[in-house]
């Protein structure tokens, strides 16, 4: 098996999901300079709703699998859109003029509240993805790629293309860009900026719902705490690419997914002390006994995202595609 190719495929799959979630962070930031920490929880709600619906329909039998999946998506997306709408209306809009720390703390608070509401509704037990569709695995160049992986990459790509079209080719997208640059002047053009902000939240939440369904399907499981780490990584991806920048979020997400997967694939070998020449004699006995003496195993997977983030930010504080802070007057 080709480890590199395999981890690249896994990384691109996960990275697509990060990218879609990162778009939600970056769009909201671009419009109102708020880091919506509750976005990860929106993704979690999307996954929980979808898997609950899919589980229930699968148990009742009779429906064709494809319809069951579609029903899951068709429930998760509107639920998350409403959630995104309510978040903005109830939690953030009243704080629009407040010092920046206030909405930030609120965002963190909302994310904790959403976790606990999800705990109450869905219980502590994870929802699992029922075995309703076959997930054939294809072999390409010594690595394998599953139908679910292909679907995740294609759907993410389609959503990113659609979003880019909306933002750069439609009247509403132009209003979004104008509002992001200068809300007061956008108002002078006749744009109701509250509507643009609402739209941005709802659109980001819809993408988040799709990401939730995809990640739930990929791992076959969803639980009330999944949004925290996923959200953190996607947020890192957005910062990595340059927060506020759509292309940056996509690039950052994919990059983070790939780095994470490759790191996970290689770190075990790289930190196997038995491979270090000058140590191997000292450790000869243990190495002969166990074959490996690994310092950092693949359980360090979740660390990579943040290590990469820190390294990039040291050299490019505004992210890969971000503008210098001074440009955003």
């Amino acid at each position: 098996m080709d480890i590199f190719l395999q981890q690249l495929i896994n990384g691109l799959t996960l990275g697509s999901v990060y990218a879609v979630v990162a778009l939600g962070y970056t769009m909201v930031y671009g419009i109102i300079q708020l880091i919506n920490f509750a976005h990860g929880e929106v993704v979690m709600v999307g996954a929980m709703v979808a898997l609950t619906v899919i589980g229930a329909l699968a148990a009742s039998g009779s429906m064709p699998p494809f319809l069951i999946l579609t029903a899951g998506v068709l429930c998760a997306v509107p639920v998350c859109m409403i959630l995104g709408y309510l978040l903005e209306r109830v939690a953030y809009r009243p704080l629009r003029g407040a010092p920046r720390l206030a909405p930030l703390i609120t965002a963190i608070g909302v994310s904790i509240i959403l976790q606990h509401v999800a705990l109450l509704i869905f219980s502590r037990n994870p929802r699992s993805f029922p075995q309703i569709v076959a997930n054939p695995v294809f072999d390409i160049g010594g690595a394998s790629i599953s139908a679910v992986q292909i679907a995740i990459m294609l759907i993410s790509l389609a959503m990113m293309a659609a979003l880019t079209f909306v933002v750069y080719r439609t009247r509403l997208g132009m209003a979004m860009r104008a509002t992001s640059e200068n809300p007061a002047v956008a108002g002078l053009m006749g744009i109701d900026i509250n509507r643009v902000i609402t739209f941005t939240f709802v659109l980001g939440a819809a993408l988040g719902a799709m990401a939730g369904v995809m990640v739930g399907t990929y791992y076959g499981i969803a639980h009330y705490k999944m949004g925290a780490l996923l959200g953190m990584k996607a947020f890192s991806a957005a910062v990595l690419g340059g927060i506020g920048n759509l292309g940056g979020a996509m690039l950052g997400g994919l990059l983070l997914g790939v780095v994470e997967a490759l790191g996970t694939g290689y770190i075990g070998d790289a930190t196997d002390l038995c491979n270090v020449e000058w140590l191997s004699t000292a450790l000869a006995e243990r190495c002969a006994d166990q074959g490996h003496m690994i310092l950092f195993g693949s359980n360090y997977q979740d660390v990579f995202a943040f290590v990469v983030l820190i390294i990039v930010l040291v050299f490019r504080p505004s992210g890969l595609l971000g503008e210098r802070v001074g440009d955003r007057a």
Partner: protein, 237 residues
């Protein structure tokens, strides 16, 4: 003549600090009126309140016979009130063409928009040459042209101009004032705020002088240009 804009006792405060107090002024349909005053006098505050960007603490603004006090900016544009803000406020990351399209955001008449776009490009050929460039790459003068052109794209009845000559080279200032005169000649009512009092009063028929948030003097431009007070304080004589 009909009164297009009628302001009475307008007071605006920034969180308790009063910036303008009891401002009375009016602009008739088709007039070009200047509002002059030193830096910090309250001219920008006045225009922002008229354009719905600031909510007055008290007083009334009547436009076209209707009370519009407290109406927000995105609604006022639909009534025909356009502001070219101080410092231009072009969307730097949007192209020249997109900026002009934003100006026509409230309109749906494709043919009319296309005609007005031609008219703006006719007034400012430089903008047409740079139509695909982002506005941030334009010179200060070109950005001012763009800001004025963008405001024209909504077909305003009342055009509020906040220091259009600020920071521009003399030749560009002249060009901008020619365009303002051309717009006024088309029948658009204009309230022009300027620190460059001489130019403003030469372009306008009447003027108001503002000092520390209060209107201290109003007269015909000729009278203001001749007044001792204005000559000493604003014309540097």
């Amino acid at each position: 003549m009909t009164r297009l804009l009628d302001v009475a006792g307008l007071t605006v405060a920034y969180g308790g600090i009063v910036a303008i107090r009891g401002v009375d002024m009016h602009v008739d349909q088709g007039e070009l009126v200047a509002l002059i005053g030193a830096n910090g006098a309250g001219k920008t505050t006045t225009l922002k309140a008229l354009a719905g960007m600031l909510t007055p603490a008290s007083g009334s603004i009547r436009y076209d016979g209707v009370e519009i006090t407290g109406e927000v900016s995105h609604r006022l544009v639909r009534r025909g009130v356009a502001l070219v803000p101080e410092g231009r406020g072009v969307f730097a990351r949007l192209t020249v063409h997109e900026n002009l399209a934003m100006g026509a955001y409230i309109r749906a008449d494709r043919d009319g928009i296309a005609a007005d776009l031609d008219r703006v490009y006719g007034l400012f050929p430089r903008l047409e040459e740079r139509r695909a460039q982002t506005a941030g790459t334009l010179s200060g003068g070109e950005q001012q042209m763009l800001a004025i052109g963008r405001a024209m794209m909504c077909r305003p009845r009342l055009l509020l101009l906040d220091e259009p000559s600020m920071g521009l080279a003399p030749l560009m200032v002249q060009k901008i004032f020619e365009v303002i005169a051309a717009i006024a000649a088309e029948g658009v009512t204009i309230l022009l705020v300027e620190q460059n009092a001489r130019l403003a009063l030469q372009a306008a028929a009447r003027g108001y002088v503002m000092e520390s948030g209060v209107i201290t003097l109003t007269d015909s431009s000729a009278a203001l240009l001749g007044s001792e007070q204005v000559r000493q304080a604003y014309l540097g004589e």
